[in-house]
Homo-oligomer: 185 residues x 2
């Protein structure tokens, strides 16, 4: 029943997308975007498979970025791009949203893994230290906490750069990016 | 991994549909059609849930038809309707394809359940008698073999009637319907 419920929710998503109140051309692009982001190549399922296979191994930074890009950044990116497509964004604007999403997605995951080490369970509101206990592959484990935080900062700066052409319209997205690196839980 | 593979195939289907070589409006309709046919309300997943819940109970003919309609006929219908939409069929033509699909889908399942009783494993090429052994809900169990075969014949006649307006173009579909009730395995 749990598997059927999962399958049903996945199917339901596409039924909802097919009824969006925007031109059919945009709806089709959004379907493709969500399908790729959840799929096997650079998508969430592909990332999860590589993550499972990487458990208890010593993965490279390249593999780690693939996992974060696919498991975390892909869906954040798809959300941003889908919103843009729904609102009628031009190709160039969609490209900026995509690059912004990738950067904050990677930054989000790095900060998440750092907080798992530096914060207490009480501060996080969930069990801290789980990654170390389960030998999960993370940036802090691979390059240390300081280098990880520097990488997250650099990614957020990259993200900001992608928003320049949107001007004040992008203020909410900027706040979101800032929140991702400054949050303490 | 098996669950991820299933999720991946489901997602992949929509990625493929989004790239079909037909107008975006038709592609969106096909996405909606497939999503509904595999979904919870009158779709394959809904039918499977009711089927699981009906095991070892004494279900009504109404519930049995819901299961067959959802688990078997929905996907056959979606295949026919999607082909029609892809080829640019008009609303009226799509309605005929839909009614044809429902009728042959129900007939297919009835014949399948009859063969499970009347044929040997060797004739079927798979284990016969499985439905009876597992107390599966079937038409033969509910109304007997003769009444079941009559119902299948009536459904195929209904199906033929839906094809009238297509003339000779529908010859392949007619052959398909005939095969479904005349097959011995």
């Amino acid at each position: 029943m749990a598997i059927l419920a999962g399958d049903a929710l996945q199917t339901q998503a596409y039924e909802v997308l097919s009824r969006l109140q925007c031109p059919a051309e945009a709806r089709v692009k959004i379907v493709a975007e969500i399908a790729r982001a959840t799929g096997t190549v650079n998508g969430m399922i592909g990332g999860q498979v590589v993550d499972l296979e990487a458990e208890h191994t010593k993965p490279t930074a390249e593999m780690l970025e693939y996992i974060h890009r696919s498991k975390t950044a892909a869906l954040i990116t798809a959300s941003l791009v889908s919103g843009g497509l729904f609102a009628g964004a031009k190709d160039g604007e969609v490209a900026h949203l995509r690059a912004f999403g990738l950067a904050i997605g990677l930054a989000f995951q790095i900060v998440d893994d750092v907080l798992d080490i530096t914060q207490t369970s009480q501060q996080l509101g969930k069990t801290a230290g789980k990654d170390t206990a389960s030998e999960k592959v993370t940036y802090p484990a691979l390059i240390g906490i300081d280098a990880s935080l520097k990488k997250a900062d650099a990614l957020v700066n990259d993200a900001f750069a992608e928003l320049k052409s949107f001007g004040e319209q992008a203020e909410t997205l900027k706040e979101l990016a800032r929140f991702l690196v400054e949050r303490k839980k």
